[in-house]
Amino acid sequence: MYVYDDFDQKIVDQRVAQFRDQTRRYLAGELTEDEFRPLRLQNGLYIQRYAPMLRVAVPYGELNSKQVRMLAHIARTYDRNYGHFTTRQNIQFNWPALENVPQILADLSTVQMHAIQTSGNCIRNTTSDQFAGVAHDEIVDPRPWCEIIRQWSTFHPEFAHLPRKFKIAVNGAVEDRAAIRVHDIGISIVKNDAGETGFAIYVGGGLGRTPIVGALIKPWLEKHHLLSYLDAVLRVYNRYGRRDNKYKARIKILVKAMTPEAFGAKVEQEWVHLKDGPTTLTDAEIARVSKFFVDPAYETLPGDDAAYLAAKASNPAFARWVQRNVFGHKQPGYAAVTLSLKKTGIAPGDATDAQLDAVADLSDQYSLGEVRVSHEQNLILPYVKQADLFAVWEKAKEIGFATPNIGLLTDIVCCPGGDFCSLANAKSIPIAEGIQRKFDDLDYLFDLGELDINISGCMNSCGHHHVGHIGILGVDKNGSEWYQISLGGRQGKHAALAKVIGPSFAQEAIPDVIEQIINVYVESREDSEHFVDVVDRLGIAPFKQRVYAKELAHD
């Protein structure tokens, strides 16, 4: 992974000093609340329902064991012994005291971490495929490009105060595990017929109040021009994005208003002036950054380890875990393991200090000291030998991270919701738990197969409910919490937005409603048809009919 040099370290250290001074001036009354708010947000610090919340950046989801131990230290020392992994591959701490935040940032800087631009109206943490560099279906490793974008976007002076937040995602594999079509800019790394690397650029995707799938405005961008093109997109947005209404300020609204064609043409006009300027990437820089992401020294191993295959054959529980939580590796004899942070009864994405320390130990022992965070809020050990999988499984069970449910109904993506977040209309964690408890039969879950449930506590859509096969959105009606259900969303290459089935339901009704929906699926599926394919084939009508026949809804 990327390692800071003196320049990188100095920039982060100077940020710590700057934020320490800003916090001091705020506490001394020299900065008003209105002045301090945008400044602290650009450092990931929210003032939440009960306490401040600090969001720490995990650039494109990559961590080393030392950094994971530091996160454990922060949870233990400054918080209530846990952190929450987010749908943007970051981690949030829910209970730090404002006065301690500068020291937390100083601690983070000792392991090359920070909270820069994890919130606010600026370019946020660039996200990517959690299996980058190891995926069996990878075309180009996206991580060097993510790092190049991270450096370009860090404290970019022209784009520090955009109309609204701005999120960039990069995918380099056949499957899109980075959800690039629902980002402000989605970058797909592609190769042309000559085998050269370049980019396809999508703009104007996003969830929130107005969900839109991004439009392709540049099918081929030669790699050296990546940053000047991004400068051009951002400049057009910075100048012409709406600033009069925060609900209409995202780039998607501008792209829609102008049409993607006209927006793309405007970007081209701007880019003509910037192209071939000093920001043009050099081969030396691409090589410098890429060398941090070369393959580790893999052992030459047989493709299928005999002891591993034997354990799989004789131990059904292990086999089940392998089926769901082990992902195909590009290197024979290796695997990527997903540690499930979706155990029933625990808020999705939460990890305690002890669990984080244990994950760091596991990664040191079995995964070359590296850990990844997925946008589905799980952790990944990317370099596990097949021969070690059984041992990793046993230890993951001890930690509580071995639930064999990756991609299944109980692997629920969920925002912190009304239990923590001051923006939320409704709670989301208890909804997830209610559903997990209803579906507690593992055989049945496996039989149901791949099914994404996404829960957001409000329209800001941090739980990405628009792209869940089943989406659940918390809404406020006359001061009480209700939940709207939508069906048929998808992330990835064939991203689609879910359709709302009708009036919303009370919290208690949700597990039964989900059960009714699942029953319609089970009765209607043909062969091994997935849930979302059945929804596509039948439409939402039969689901709607079943659910509302029982009069569970509230208008």
Binding site: Q14, F155, E158, H161, N238, T279, T282
Partner: protein
């Protein structure tokens, strides 16, 4: 006397900022002394201003650098307004005036200008900062040194770090 930061020095302000009346009307201009007029007044009273001399023009955040690109040789200075520091449009205007239209004269930030934003402004090409009167200008000046290294190229240092890394 009002003080202003120019070229990293705190100096006496030599220019009077003229704003539009609340109804959009033009103010009467003083006969002498340096003035900074709103874009609309420059467009409406071009000949009179050229005859008077010693004037600059200022742009609101929703006005565009392109509108004065052909005229930059006439201005003693150009000012760009930040009605609130979170309105970042004039960062782009500043860069366009410097990088694209070759403006070399004084480029002044006016409005919501204080310690925590002036380095961003400097990087985008501003060399003069009319710090908000209720903020400590000496404290604000220190903001220019919050960072000494930058990743991306900008107007003050067009070379990105990757072209300068040792």
């Amino acid at each position: 006397m009002t003080e202003i930061i120019k070229q990293r020095q705190i100096v006496e302000d030599d220019a009077q900022l003229i704003r539009l009346g609340e109804d959009g009307s033009f103010a009467e201009l003083p006969a002498s002394g340096r003035i900074i007029v709103p874009l609309k007044q420059w467009q409406a009273q071009r000949d009179a201003l050229l005859a008077r001399g010693d004037f600059g023009v200022w742009l609101a955040s929703d006005e565009e650098a392109e509108t004065i690109a052909a005229d930059i040789g006439h201005f003693a200075l150009i000012a760009l307004d930040f009605p609130a520091f979170i309105d970042g449009r004039n960062y782009s205007n500043a860069r366009l005036l410097r990088d694209r239209y070759g403006y070399k004269g004084e480029l002044r930030a006016i409005g919501d200008v204080f310690k925590d934003v002036i380095l961003l402004m400097k990087r985008c090409g501003f060399d003069a900062f009319a710090v908000r009167p209720d903020k400590d200008i000496h404290e604000a000046l220190k903001g220019l040194d919050d960072f000494t290294e930058y990743y991306q190229g900008a107007t003050d240092e067009p070379l990105p770090l990757f072209r300068r890394r040792a």
